[in-house]
Symmetry: C2
Subunit: 239 residues, 2 copies
């Protein structure tokens, strides 16, 4: 708690609570290795409630959750991802072989598979969606991030698989016209968490430094907040 | 910690840490009333680092942050939102007057205004973006949600303003072709937090019950996890 700002009464997070939130945010990883097992129904409902408490412009809400319990359906979804993986690998050209060594899904091993879908009939919502219209996807992504952070805190791994052809997945899930699948979430116990992002472990790519992605006021201009040393604030951006 | 699942060593969140993460998720609100003041630079950097630790398919990352410190620019952004607000109000028809009473932005009062922009040149990224291509927006939305939860834990309010014409905002921020503004974030101290979502307080809309948004396996089918009572799990989805 800094002396610089008053915290409204009743909303103070204790320092260890603040750290717990940062801890979930900084430690969270996109997991593709799972250990089977199960997620108890009460815990799954709580995780879905966490997702459901995401921001939703005008309170649509745009998200729908399909819990995949049918083993045959799960296998078909796995196959749809595998099919897209081969096409993506080919599109990558010279990195094709390297890409093919990455594990990009855990649909067959994860305790739970949840498909996240943007609902049909979203056109009738106007408030906050006239422009830009894609705020429905943004809201649903926030819901997924909520679920991810809560799952991480609960000691469960989660992976967001988006490597699929929307048409195949829509057909498998019997989605109505206008609905769009945006994620196949693999969720459940893991044997161990990645200590750094898998793509970094596998030397596929590294995280870009934040300061290179920030500007002051207009594109390409300065970044004073990252240049200023010796300010009295806590935290200091380093971790 | 449930007996149902093993938690990988070294990654255990203490029960109060788990609760802190849920607390941030369930209490977070979209704030449009701010109390001026300031966000210390070190704290702002830490919040941006939290955003930067969002998932980013293939590690693009798609997000850019523009910190608006120029008072004239801030006024122009405010005016762009106001302009879109009038157009949206008109499009709402019979709810126009009701809508016009809602406060939809705090650009002039918030300590900080951050524009979040999808970078130009995103087309060259293939992995995880061939289909569906809009995963760049999804990643950036996760970054915003991270920032939001961290700000909330720090006792700061944040509001996501998306009510603007992208062309006007792009021009004001001097964005290059291909870059897209997705959010004007208002961030800073507040006098009091909304105890329930503002749209609910103002009787604009209510949050839909989660169970109505979930299905088993295929669209429209069952929702066993919400029907099953008496399971031994903790949490139980109620809050």
């Amino acid at each position: 708690m800094s002396a610089h700002r008053p915290v409204p009464p009743g909303y103070v997070f204790e320092p260890q609570e603040v750290q717990a939130v940062y801890r979930a945010i900084f430690e969270r990883r996109d997991m593709h290795h799972f250990a089977g097992g199960q997620v108890p129904p009460g815990q799954l409902r709580l995780l879905l409630e966490a997702a459901h408490h995401a921001p939703s412009v005008g309170f649509m809400p745009p998200w729908r959750f399909l819990r995949v319990t049918d083993a045959v359906l799960r296998q078909h979804l796995h196959d749809a991802v595998e099919e897209e993986r081969l096409v993506t690998a080919h599109a990558l050209g010279e990195r094709e072989n390297e890409f093919m060594r990455l594990k990009v899904q855990g649909l067959l091993e994860a305790a739970e598979v949840l498909a996240v879908v943007l609902a049909d009939g979203r056109d009738k919502h106007v408030f906050g969606r006239r422009t830009p219209p894609q705020m429905d996807l943004a809201s649903a992504a926030c819901a997924i991030q909520n679920l991810w952070l809560a799952a991480w805190a609960e000691g469960l791994g989660m992976g967001w698989v988006s490597l699929f052809g929307p048409a195949s997945v829509s057909a498998l899930l019997a989605l109505p016209p206008g609905a769009e699948p945006i994620a196949l979430l693999c969720l459940g116990p893991v044997d161990s968490f990645y200590h750094e992002p898998m793509l970094q472990q596998q030397r596929w790519a590294r995280r870009a430094p934040l300061a290179s992605l920030a500007y002051d006021n207009r594109w390409g201009q300065g970044r004073e907040v990252f240049d200023s040393a010796n300010d009295a604030a806590r935290g200091d951006g380093s971790r």
